[in-house]
Symmetry: C2
Subunit: 97 residues, 2 copies
Amino acid sequence: MKKNDDIFRRQARVLKALANASRLQIVDRLLRGECSVGELTELVGSDRTTVSKHLAVLRAHGIVSDRRDGSVVFYTLLTPCVANFFACASQVLKERL
Amino acid sequence: MKKNDDIFRRQARVLKALANASRLQIVDRLLRGECSVGELTELVGSDRTTVSKHLAVLRAHGIVSDRRDGSVVFYTLLTPCVANFFACASQVLKERL
DNA sequence: TGTCAATGTGGCCACATCGCCACCCCGTGG
DNA sequence: CCACGGGGTGGCGATGTGGCCACATTGACA
């Protein structure tokens, strides 16, 4: 009962961490390999600091990890299984026609 | 590009509609068959109106549908594929140990 | 050393979300 | 007709979120 509530809350947090267009775009890019903040910023089209905060959210939830090479920080997808979310979401969007 | 942004936004909306512990609990219950608002209210443990609003969110995103029988309203899961989200979320939670 | 380029962080504001209260709608049963 | 119960909606306060600005940090390079 209380335990189940906690499970739902944890799952909700994971979904929430991904429930943002910019973060989905970042994850989608990282599915094709690690990427620098600069490239991600250009891709998303938002302010650098905004992208940095999105990355902080993904990092805080253990979805991505960062690697520093000189002055450039590269991000990697830590849980590639999040790709399933894209398939799930697409299927939901398709089924509700 | 603009098209892709739209896809990410749509997927984000679906994830957002499910990114709530109460709504996840509701969906989890509906996976086992249709259910009345009263029973869902008792299950979630929140106010009736709060549950009603959660159901409205799920309805607005085409995830559930409602059927009226007298004065009782039954909700049904319209897209059972959302069960995949539970598996996805669990896997993410497991992988980040 | 100094400067620049690449990131992260704190703060702020506008906006959305959550949960509850009061209230309204509709069907049932007297 | 009225009273009651199941559900839905509007609005409120509290809280969270997205995005931008200013500033701090760190490494590269002269």
